[in-house]
Every structure is written in C-alpha cells, then in structure tokens.
Symmetry: C2
Subunit: 224 residues, 2 copies
C-alpha cells in the first residue's frame, strides 16, 4: 500500500498516486502480457496463477484484475498478440524476399523469428504450445476456432504462390505442404527451451534452414 | 457387482468369479494402457480422470485401482511402453536399412511408425505431447529425467554412424541434427489428430520424407 498524497487540485480520483493515463495503462497491459507469456511458456496454463503473472509483471494481483477479468482473458489477448506478431513477422519477410524462391522466403522468415524470440522471451514456445493448451484446458476451449488456423493460412499463402511458380514437387499439394510446415514449425517452437537461452534455438532453426535447402543430410556418403 | 458362485473347490479367493490369472491380468493391464493412451492423447493428462480411463477400457474404476495405484502410475507405464515401442520401431528400421543412407533409414523408420500409429490409436500424439505434459503437471515432474532423452539418444546413434559415413553436411554436428530431428518428429506427432484418422497423418509424414530427400520444394521455379 502506498501513501496517497493529498490532492493538490481537483482531479479524477484514479489520477491520484501513480498516474494511470492511457499510455501508462497500455505499458502496464503490455508488461502483464510479457509476464504472462513467459509464465505460460514455462509452466503451462493450468499451473500458472494470476499471482504468478502479477509477480512476474511487478504489480499487485489487485492491479492485474484492474486490467484483465481472468486468466483466460490474459491468455486470449496474449495469444492473439503473439500470433499476430509472429505471422506478421513471417509475412513481411516473405514480402521482402518475394522475388526469391519460397525456400529463401521461409529462411528469411525463420531468421526474423529468431530475432523476435530474442526480443520477447517465451513467445515462440507459448505460441507453439497453444494448440495443445487450448485442447487440454476447458477454460480455453472457445479460443480454438478463432486462432488455430493462423499459421496454416500463412503457409498456404506462401505455398500457393510457390506452386504457381512451379516450386512444389509434382504430386505435392499446397495443403499437404502447409500442414507439414505448421507441424514442423510447431515442433521447433515447443522445443525452444526458454531457460536455455536463444543460442540453442537459433542453432536448431539454422539446421532446419539447411534441411529446407536440402543441405543438412547427404543422400549418400561420398567417402568410404 | 457380480454374484459370486460358491467355491466348488479350495482356491484362492480372487480366483472366484472372473478368472484373473497372470495372462488375463496382463490383457487387462494392456487394455487399460491402450485406453489411457487414447484418453491422454485426446484430452490431456489433467483433464483425463481415472473414471474416463476405466470407462474407455470397459472396466470399473475399482478394477482399475486393482491394477494401478494412481493416474500418474498409469501415465508412467503407458509412456514407458510407448517410448520403447516407438524407439524400437525406429531402431529396427534403421538396422534393416543399415546399408543405405541415413535419409533412407529415417524414411523407413517413419513408414514403420505410420503402421504403429494405425495399430495403436493415440500413441504417436501421446508420446509427442509427453514433454509438455511432464513440464505442465507437477504430479509427473519426477518422470522427466528418465524418459526425456529417449528420442535424442535414438537420433544421435543414427546420425553418429551417418557422420562417420560422411553424410552430414560440413559444419553440422551430430548433436545439432539430432536436436532438430527430435523437434521435428515431436511436431509431427503432436499434429497427429487422433480424431481425423491415419490417412492425414500418413500424408504429412510422406511430405516430411520428401523434405528429408530434398524433394518437397525446389530452390527455383523452372517454369515462367
């Protein structure tokens, strides 16, 4: 509890003490989301309490409830924010490399995601876990339809253009390839250990880029 | 409750009514595990009750407790069984294709896993989810160290031999490539939707095999 200083002039009651203008509220909301994303990535939805999130955000539980009604509401906003951030990161990389092959576009997207992951700890794993979390927590059931297709749509867009340019192997459909990329990128996201830092994540992503380019494993050993 | 028939001869009490010899007990235990794997894959550990498992296995909750002390004990035995089944499936395929490239060995392993997945619904997703489930459920914490490395070890063995045959690209370490394969195979496992059947899983796995062979995406579009 803070000591409120007596009001020097007539102002709305909630302006007293710590200022809670629109800008400050937005900063606090963002801090809460960053804290929540990290906690959810580390411990999972069921094992993360509102108290954990408030503590990680450096605020009181009371203040948390001022911004969000429930843990499910925090999860929803955090997930939407992360999905938008990640899909927009990919989309802008795909656009930047539009005149190159879809393998190059994917690799540029992955490089940008490495940077996002460094800037927002836990985001990648949080997003990767989301499909299972939504399935496994009744409180989150209603989220599923809204966000589950975000990555599928992203990769279908990329691969549709690639297919028109003749970059998909014969017999491979856009939908098959999109489904594969969603699964692989989810696997990479979930494997991102928030504790072990970003260097290992980056190394795994770069191995994946080599696989996409067909440069990870050789079909035959040249020596021996 | 069943009507016990009066004992005709002197036998141990639990032999009365339904026979529960070692063979029958093993069958029941196996049924429980199959039911548990399916339930855990569908709903997650926290949302699966012992009652759900008993119901899916076609037995009473009382009978379930005759075989397992707790849900965590069922999870542990089911996970160990699934990990052994899956890693041995890969290992025997790797051995069968030992004179071919590691890409071919991997693809044969993946084909065999498709068959296992058809034979035991939910196993693949259950195993894929296990790392996150163990992290996110305090009851399972103690399992982590024991089983988390099973797939890493499997792929390291394969890639170590491949590396000695010169099949790893320059600059790619066995550990990096193993870590990548674990992440990708986990992603494919988790994406396996137990409800939507095996055909889609098989299609995704075959796209992955094409990716491993460098035959999914072309670096440049030949047409246009």
């Amino acid at each position: 509890m803070k000591h409120d200083s007596p009001p020097a002039r007539r102002r709305p009651a909630r302006k007293r003490g710590r200022p809670e203008g629109a800008g400050v509220a937005a900063v606090t909301r963002n801090n809460i989301m960053r804290a929540a994303v990290y906690c959810f990535a580390q411990s999972g939805y069921a094992q993360t309490s509102n108290h954990d999130i408030a503590q990680a955000a450096g605020i009181t539980s009371g203040s948390l409830y001022h911004h969000f009604d429930s843990k499910a509401a925090i999860y929803q906003e955090a997930l939407r924010h992360c999905l938008i951030t990640l899909t927009e990161t990919y989309r802008s990389a795909f656009a930047e490399a539009a005149d190159r092959s879809c393998i190059d576009q994917l690799c540029l997207g992955l490089e940008r995601v490495i940077a996002v992951s460094r800037a927002w700890p836990g985001m990648v794993r949080f997003a990767g876990n989301s499909a299972a979390e939504i399935r496994h927590n009744r409180e989150l059931d209603w989220l599923h339809a809204e966000d589950a297709q975000a990555f599928n749509l992203l990769f279908r867009e990329l691969l549709q253009v690639a297919s028109e340019r003749g970059e998909l192997a014969t017999g491979v459909t856009v939908e098959d390839a999109a489904q594969l990329l969603v699964a692989l990128v989810s696997g990479l996201s979930i494997a991102h250990d928030t504790d072990l830092g970003e260097a290992r994540f980056a190394a795994t992503i770069r191995s994946f880029e080599r696989l996409l380019k067909g440069q990870l494993l050789k079909p035959r050993g040249p020596r021996k």
